[in-house]
């Protein structure tokens, strides 16, 4: 009985606040970064983002930015790929490079004792990568291997089909990896052009957390990034939305079908974003108690997991969801998704659901700030989303300001059950393409 009392009263709990001391640092050369100075452990986590990513690929050159990101650590300045890796490991530094549809990411961590040498080595990769012919062929082989694997992977196939249906010939409509044909056709010149277009100072965001002072960070950033080109390639325009309502089945021989569903979403800077955020949390967010998880998994055992998410990209917005289910259960699960979507659009949520979602959202937020690396990733993400530097301290107040009426209004605006598109990859029973 006592525990029930606890559970009932817990909604009175005041959430923790995220009070990480974030400082804006401007280097002598004019590069700005957000810094959390913390000398507890002798290392620094550094996160760098360049806006644009694989969407900068020139027409007919799909996969160039991705191949470039895979090659950037494969030899630089006087070192070939073997020499570069050995030098990095001897410093116990770590660098990771990635390309997504809206950004190129660089993540680094290095010990304080090796900071200067680690920054210098990373600089050589960013500013003077070699793109040696043998490295281009080796990494091209790895990319082609990924592309071939994805062609037999139902989850990857569903993603490709959904994106193509949603965005057609816009870069969002195809994989940033490119196709076998496009990657086979990329030359070293294409890789060099991708490097110049994607890594430039006019699209740069930086965060650092750890054992480094503002002055040390400023000097390091000028050395690391100061010699990048001032401007890069033009960003793509808005992506036109092209999803049609209804089900599209792509036959694939496997005992379970993978289902992606969704329709148009909401921009990150929309005044109703936080209401939409909570609405999604209640519909299919990360909690076991979300409506879809309850309907599909807990009540009926139709799937191991179902989730929904808001997808505010730079050039388009979606609200999406996904699940996998045995082929003979997909039709029922799909119907339940439609019904839950419609019920939420029509009736909104209950006061209890909203209170629980707020408590979770506000309580879990500060728990994300749990290490130098995670904090640096959060800070760089805030910058690329144009959020203010005090966002971490004010975000929970914005969540708490959302009312039941807000949710009802946003549910009616955002959730369009008649517009829902389902991409199904598998051999579903009783489900065919159409409305």
């Amino acid at each position: 009985m006592m525990i029930r009392l606890v559970l009932a009263l817990i909604f009175l709990a005041l959430p923790l606040r995220a009070e990480v001391a974030i400082e804006q640092v401007t280097s002598p050369g004019g590069i700005t970064a957000w810094l959390v100075e913390d000398h507890g452990i002798p290392f620094t986590a550094l996160e760098i983002r360049f806006r644009g990513g694989t969407s900068l690929d020139a027409p007919g050159r799909r996969g160039a930015v991705n191949l470039m990101a895979g090659l950037i650590e494969e030899g630089a300045a006087g070192l070939d790929a073997q020499g570069f890796a050995a030098a990095r490991d001897a410093l116990a530094a770590e660098y990771r490079f990635g390309a997504s549809q809206d950004s190129v990411s660089v993540s680094a961590r290095f010990l304080t004792e090796n900071r200067d040498a680690a920054v210098d080595l990373l600089r050589s990769a960013l500013i003077t990568p070699r793109f040696d012919a043998d490295a281009v062929e080796r990494v091209r082989g790895q990319v082609l291997s990924n592309i071939r694997s994805n062609a037999k992977d139902p989850s990857a196939l569903a993603g490709l089909a959904f994106d193509a249906a949603a965005f057609g010939s816009h870069p969002y409509g195809s994989s940033g990896d490119g196709t076998e044909a496009s990657v086979a056709g990329l030359s070293r010149d294409d890789v060099v052009a991708a490097h110049h277009g994607a890594l430039a100072r006019d699209r740069l965001y930086v965060a650092a957390v750890g054992d480094i002072s503002p002055a040390e960070l400023g000097a390091a950033l000028d050395h690391l990034l100061g010699d990048l080109p001032a401007t890069g390639a033009a960003l793509p325009g808005r992506a036109d939305y092209g999803l049609t309502p209804g089900v599209v089945v792509q036959d694939f021989p496997t005992p379970q079908s993978v289902v992606l569903f969704g329709h148009q979403g909401i921009t990150r800077d929309d005044p109703d974003f936080f209401a939409a955020y909570l609405l999604n949390e209640i519909l299919g967010g990360g909690r076991f108690s979300a409506r879809l998880m309850t309907e599909l998994r807990e009540k009926r055992g139709l799937t191991y997991g179902v989730s929904t998410f808001l997808v505010p990209m730079d050039q388009a917005e979606l609200v999406m969801g996904q699940f996998a289910a045995d082929n003979d259960k997909v039709a029922q699960a799909t119907l339940l998704v439609r019904e839950s979507w419609a019920a939420l659009a029509r009736d909104g949520v209950t006061a209890e659901e909203l209170a629980a979602a707020k408590t979770y959202a506000t309580g879990s937020y500060p728990l994300r700030f749990d290490g130098n690396g995670p904090i640096a990733r959060i800070l760089v993400g805030m910058q690329i989303q144009h959020l203010p530097i005090d966002y971490a301290a004010t975000r929970n107040a914005r969540i708490n300001a959302v009312t039941l009426a807000d949710i009802k209004r946003v549910a009616a605006r955002l959730l369009q059950p008649e517009a829902l598109h389902f991409t199904v990859v598998g051999q579903p029973v009783g489900l065919v393409s159409g409305n």
Binding site: I3, I10, L16, A21, Q142, R148, A356, G363, L367
Partner: protein, 449 residues
């Protein structure tokens, strides 16, 4: 729970989360409650957050014959409620704290964890202690959850030919030891699991004398001790809990080879797994040498012996790797993997891999590569202090795999003491194909040569 403690839970929550960056997570204490529950406390006062984990010394390798999957099935059932916390309310209560919770199962352990603000630790302990002894299972709940688990098996294994082959290879690896049984269970045995299986398993293994509590974060050892004694202390141990003596392997005298063809295979793969010794209490040197061996042979995608030979010097592979994790109760495996370049036959790729291994056994170790790995392992101990969850898992996994807190703390030094001679001796012993399983995953219709 006394009323004052309840009130504190509600009113002491307006604390700001500050990142003060003081002591990092390197202060570890341990003690044992009177009922046999072992407790490890890892202090990290940088943020007012705590990870609360209960690890049970039971996993898939402890299941009764013919009932594979019950350990993992039971992990799911632990969320199905007690007389005081209804089905689903456990997670809901954690979520209402802004916390996250989940669980995982392996061959040697089953673990449950929550991450919450540090001042909510008492509530987590109340609920975790409650479900250690008071779980209520109905046939309906068990039946629905069985469907969820069959769907999970479908998602993780049955739709992935690589996962299916790795399950078959593991079954071939272990001639007698239950490590050959998949953690999630064989499908036909999962389908037959019922409430009686679950109840018997629960009564035997879910007890304080079979559990390890790991609390990591903004806590003190004295504070954790007081809370643990209040919440877990009153629980009754399982009397006469048998030691974990599993069937052991006979001498492995014959190499095993498997070929699986599947239409869904895009990329042929060769895996080779050798039987390999595990870390043992007070005796971790051999496992440390094997940790180096894995790093040297295939730990680095560029400079490792396999990558350099098969991806740089000769164009045979698109990917190579080597894997070893010695944290296990019983003998483990040392694994190699190779993805051939298009046009390179699997037989040719495998022969090339074996030639590289033979050459390595003849030539020995590049001293610079060895020195780099030592430097990286030392640095990893610094980076590891940034991740208190990772430290908590390190202790929980070790303590449910037959090791002690002293073994965990000695491990970095044991690694630093490894010599190239140790590594070569371990390599000569382990890289014996009579104790190995080689598996080829090929495209349907491809000629297996």
């Amino acid at each position: 729970m006394p009323p004052t403690l309840l009130r504190n839970l509600f009113y002491e929550m307006a604390v700001g989360l500050t990142w003060v960056g003081m002591a990092s997570a390197d202060t570890v204490s341990d003690f044992t409650l009177a009922n046999g529950m072992e407790v490890v406390v890892i202090e990290d006062h940088r943020a007012p957050v705590v990870t609360h984990m209960v690890w049970y010394r039971v996993g898939a390798a402890d299941e009764p014959l013919g009932h594979s999957g019950i350990a993992h099935f039971f992990e799911h059932l632990m969320f199905k409620g007690t007389p005081s916390v209804g089905p689903g309310e456990f997670s809901a209560a954690v979520e209402a704290q802004g916390g996250s919770d989940n669980a995982f199962t392996s061959w040697d352990y089953t673990a449950y964890f929550q991450r919450v603000a540090a001042d909510r630790l008492a509530l987590m302990m109340t609920m975790e202690a409650d479900r250690m002894r008071n779980l209520v299972l109905s046939d309906d709940l068990v039946a629905t959850e069985r469907e969820v688990i069959l769907a999970e098996r479908g998602q993780r294994i049955d739709t992935d030919p690589g996962a299916l082959l790795s399950e078959q290879a593991r079954a071939a690896q272990f001639l007698n030891h239950p490590y050959g049984v998949p953690i999630i269970g064989w499908r036909h045995e999962i389908a037959a699991l019922n409430r009686a299986d679950a109840q018997a398993f629960y009564q035997t293994y879910y007890a304080p004398n079979d559990a390890v509590l790991v609390v990591a974060g903004d806590v003190t050892p004295d504070g954790v001790r007081a809370l643990a004694e209040a919440h877990y202390g009153p629980l009754q141990p399982t009397p006469g809990l048998a030691p974990r003596a599993r069937p052991t392997e006979p001498p492995q005298l014959a190499e095993r080879r498997l070929v699986m063809a599947d239409a869904r295979v895009a990329q042929p793969v060769i895996t080779r797994d050798y039987l390999a010794p595990e870390r043992n209490p007070g005796d971790q040197a051999n496992a440390a040498a094997l940790t180096f061996l894995a790093e040297l042979l295939g730990g680095n995608p560029t400079t490792s012996v396999l990558a350099r030979a098969l991806q740089f010097d000769a164009q045979k592979a698109v990917y190579t790797g080597a894997f070893y994790d010695g944290t296990a109760l019983d003998a483990s495996t040392f694994g190699l993997v190779l993805v051939p370049l298009p046009g390179v036959a699997l037989a040719e790729a495998e022969a090339a891999m074996d030639a590289v291994i033979a050459q390595f056994l003849k030539d020995g170790i590049d001293p610079q590569a060895f020195a780099r790995i030592k430097t990286q392992l030392r640095a990893n101990e610094i980076y590891a202090r940034d991740n208190v969850d990772g430290l908590a898992r390190r202790y929980g996994e070790a303590l449910t795999s037959g090791l002690t807190v002293a073994d965990v703390q000695a491990w970095p030094e044991v690694l630093q003491a490894v010599t190239p001679e140790d590594v070569m001796a371990a390599a000569a012993e382990v890289l014996d194909r009579r104790q190995a399983v080689t598996a080829w995953l090929v495209q349907d219709g491809e000629v297996a040569q």
